[in-house]
Symmetry: C2
Subunit: 235 residues, 2 copies
Amino acid sequence: MQRYFASCKNDNIFILDDKDKHHILNVMRMKSNDHIEVVYDGVLYDCCLYLDNNFIVKCVSEIDSFSSNMMSIILIVPVLKEQKMDIVLQKATELGVDRIIPIITERCVVKVDGKEKNKVDRWSRIVKEASEQSKRINVPVIDNICKIDDLKFDDGVKLVCSTVEKQKKFKNIMQMHKNCDKMYIVVGPEGGLSSAEECKLNDLGFVSVSLGDRILRVETVPLFILSCINYEFLE
Amino acid sequence: MQRYFASCKNDNIFILDDKDKHHILNVMRMKSNDHIEVVYDGVLYDCCLYLDNNFIVKCVSEIDSFSSNMMSIILIVPVLKEQKMDIVLQKATELGVDRIIPIITERCVVKVDGKEKNKVDRWSRIVKEASEQSKRINVPVIDNICKIDDLKFDDGVKLVCSTVEKQKKFKNIMQMHKNCDKMYIVVGPEGGLSSAEECKLNDLGFVSVSLGDRILRVETVPLFILSCINYEFLE
């Protein structure tokens, strides 16, 4: 059954946004009495559509409520060119990222001046669609674009993917912290973080880790990391 | 230093293909006496360019020769739509795949009739470029497109990614066979393999494995698997 995230709930009626309505009417070509899955506030519902004179999504029953026991993953990624950023957002959502903090670093090639809000809105739409497609029960949060100096964190394990560090392997660090609640992971841009940036992150408590000897494109790194985290929990 | 794969070697002169020559002259804008890395037959060479009246790539010294001790990974993937296939080929190359066998399955949506050779040629170019970019020392082999019935294999561990199997986890099977020389992995198309196809593969010795509960797009699955294999060997 097709899954959508509701933006609002009034009694047993859910409100979907216009893009989802368009998808239901014009892409899926659904009719009155067809059913959809709706997620609202971490709960999954079976809903029935009434489309004759209006657009009503009515709750039929609660299917499931969720509590995740996997660690929360916060990915801190440089702003990449559009196509690469889209791949990262879509695949990271499929692979279970919880929050993405886009940052501007020294070697970022993308200019964002004046386009910050448009970009964040666009990225938020991409992760919402990817969440629906991969049947997640929540949508990753996309933070506003910021700089390393502006980063704020709670407790949690903090890692930065390094091209310099050779000793501390991501796998070993992951296995040491397998039971942590929250992990922050910084990925560098093409050309890597500058050594000043990596030092600054180290001062903020980020441990530099090696992902091994392969040379990965910048957009591959988040997918690699999230795949490994899923694998570590695959038992 | 930029890396290229030579198609041929005569004494200490390497022959590059036309696309690489174009890349050196018009993209990298290299000049005579500039150096490049050339891989030929599993050996990496430092080479000097002589471009004044001709295009000569002359060996200066051998840098390294390689022997891989990681298992050989053969990915068997359905023919996907162009953009998805390109992502799989490029990322699988970055992540160390050794051979890709494109197959036609019941639920493949792409028609290949009469275009087989063009497609395989195009895919071979993509993996060659990705190998150069990720500084591999070999280029993955792309087989001709075939059907499940036509698959031929040597010894090795054989896995098929299943949406039905829930007990046998990919991680457990991977760890059981960590020291094997060769692993064949079949990925299904959108909509999955048919149960007849999965049974046929099981009869051929392929073990159905679960990748966990996440719903991954078809092009994400090979990247997930190869990331996990790299992670397993990251010590």
